[in-house]
């Protein structure tokens, strides 16, 4: 048992890798069995996240030496509160994705459970690793799985969106490599904790190069997070994905947000000497501009899925603005907003996908008067519930999360601007969502045929709704945890010393 406990940090990477490899073989022959096995593995993954939460909730940073090579020579995984939070959010969303895909294991194709496992491996690895090049590799793992998931049962529209998505991300990978090698060339290390320790020691001649590398990293993560000038690929790509895949993609932009939070607080954080927080104002204004663009997009969207995609853009802007406000409390508020927006966007994608199926191929989820979907009461209530959640109307999770963000930024110098943008965008979201809902559900005559809502989609929605409700019910303890995580980010010395001082595992 102590062996298992010692290997716990690597399990969120190892389990999906092994299960995914097995499912490639099994998926074609026993599609139902493969889906069930995938579900079990996802439950195990959630269990790992909970176990890691129990270890790190008191502020411990748990290092894990891959191959027992100590830092900075080997790759180190490091688990702190932020990493555990991301693991947990991803585990819930992946579970919802697999549940939603159960509706038609054949419609989603036999390879789906395996691809989902590989995607999860990439996501978990990106959250756990403390090595910049390893982060690049896990980015590639999650990207190549996401290409495959996006194009799994691609129709013509998805093919075009997929081509754009792949090209943009390949360009991002090239920039990532340039940034990584610049950092190695100037500082001589790629371990993030070691980088953090060496950035303040950089010579005056090297400082512009180190800053350029940081700015390049910001561009790369901005592409992933869909920040304003770089995120225009998102509203075309996400609506083209099948509904269960779009559910999973709700967490993909958060990888970029996570990486920005990690790099900007650890490597370019308070201890970075002349370069400390050089990107913070940029983050704030980029975030605000992204919110405005996302809001305009939601008002102009012609279909429910496109509307949801623009809401994802706006939420990424909110997260960036809160992170860019630069205090520990605002970072904590961003971390509470992150699970809320992920769950709510995932649920709205799923509802939109179900509406599209229920209204038939002519209308799909376009915001036009036509057939209301069969089972209008059930679908309509689900839409109402998720829309209230995502728009930030009390009593659901959006209200709590947005309130905490507003409260946290209220003692930063730019609060009037941030408040007005955030509140106006919430109002516009309410307008856009109520217009969409009343057009699709109220103004349309009921459809003659009744398309049943799949049980898997219902189970996934129930899971996401329960997760959202949990944010409201345990808002107090969660806010305490997020604030502690924000403070942990603001004071990275514990993380740095835990990674650099980690010693190898010795057989008992």
């Amino acid at each position: 048992m102590s062996l298992l406990a010692a290997q716990l940090p690597v399990l969120p990477i190892a389990i999906p890798l092994m299960v995914g490899s097995l499912l490639i073989i099994a998926g074609r022959r026993w599609p139902a069995g493969a889906a069930a096995a995938g579900l079990l593995a996802l439950l195990a993954n959630l269990g790992c996240a909970v176990a890691l939460w129990r270890v790190t909730a008191d502020g411990t940073v748990l290092p894990y030496l891959l191959g027992n090579w100590s830092a900075p020579f080997g790759i180190v995984l490091a688990i702190d509160r932020l990493a555990v939070l991301m693991l947990g959010v991803t585990a819930v969303v992946a579970l919802a994705c697999q549940l939603a895909a159960l509706d038609g294991p054949l419609r989603q194709g036999p390879g789906f459970p395996a691809l989902l496992q590989f995607q999860l491996m990439g996501l978990n690895g990106a959250f756990l690793t403390s090595d910049l090049f390893n982060l690049f590799v896990f980015f590639e793992v999650l990207l190549i799985s996401s290409y495959a998931l996006l194009l799994h049962r691609a129709d013509r529209g998805a093919l075009r969106a997929g081509l754009h998505y792949v090209i943009v991300n390949l360009l991002g990978s090239a920039l990532f490599l340039i940034a990584v090698s610049l950092l190695y060339g100037t500082l001589g290390t790629l371990n993030m904790a070691d980088l953090a320790a060496r950035v303040p020691l950089a010579s005056a001649a090297d400082q512009p190069l180190v800053a350029a590398a940081g700015a390049l990293l910001l561009v790369v993560f901005g592409i992933k997070a869909a920040a304003l000038p770089l995120g225009l690929w998102l509203p075309g790509t996400y609506p083209a994905a099948p509904a269960p895949v779009a559910v999973l993609f709700a967490v993909m932009t958060k990888v970029g947000i996570y990486a920005i939070a990690r790099v900007s607080t650890l490597i370019y954080g308070a201890g970075a000497g002349a370069l400390a927080g050089f990107a913070s104002p940029l983050l704030l204004y980029t975030g605000l501009a992204t919110i405005i663009a996302g809001t305009l997009g939601t008002l102009a969207a012609r279909s429910l899925r496109r509307l949801t995609a623009w809401l994802v853009v706006a939420s990424a802007g909110t997260l960036l603005a809160a992170l860019g406000s630069g205090t520990a409390a605002s970072a904590g508020a961003a971390l509470l907003y992150l699970p809320h927006t992920t769950f709510a966007a995932a649920a709205l994608f799923l509802v939109a996908g179900t509406v599209a199926v229920a209204r038939g191929p002519d209308l799909e989820d376009r915001i036009e008067v036509g057939n209301a979907p069969g089972r209008g009461v059930l679908l309509g209530s689900l839409f109402l519930f998720t829309a209230v959640g995502i728009a930030g109307i009390p009593p659901l999770s959006g209200f709590v999360a947005k309130l905490m963000v507003l409260d946290a930024v209220s003692d930063t110098p730019r609060w009037p601007l941030t408040w007005s943008v955030l509140l106006a965008s919430s109002l516009a979201a309410v307008v856009a969502l109520s217009r969409a809902g009343s057009t699709i559900f109220w103004k349309s005559p009921p459809s003659p045929q009744r398309v049943p809502v799949g049980r898997g989609a219902l189970a996934a929605l129930a899971l996401l709704a329960a997760a959202g409700l949990a944010i409201v019910l345990w808002a107090g303890p969660l806010a305490g945890y997020m604030n502690a995580a924000g403070e942990q980010l603001a004071a990275p010395s514990a993380y740095i010393s835990a990674v650099l001082a980690a010693t190898g595992w010795v057989a008992p």
Binding site: F133, L151, L159, R160, L171, A174, V180, S181, Y184
Partner: protein
Amino acid sequence: MELLVSSAIGLLTAGGVFLLLRARSFEVVLGLTLLSYAVNLFIFVMGRLAIDKVPLLREGVAPSLANHADPLPQALVLTAIVISFAMTAVLLVLALRSHAEYGSDHVDGAEPPAPEPRRRNP
């Protein structure tokens, strides 16, 4: 040699960016390939240019960078080459599929409307 290598990287990058901004998917693929060559060279050079130095420790030679080439960028560039190779393969398959599906290799999947011929001033 510094000038030669750095201008080679610059030329590759410039060519890559130029091709990347074209509207045909084949040219975009070529552009990304050129760009990945440039990036790979760049990673390699970040271990400093060294002539006649091996990346292995030898008996009787002090284990310092004055006597050896830095082995880490060589390992990094191997990883980067493998990944970019695989990604290019994915992209090529996608571009071919898209060409077969739409009958056009424009990145948007359809030919843009031809610009109207400019009228001469009367």
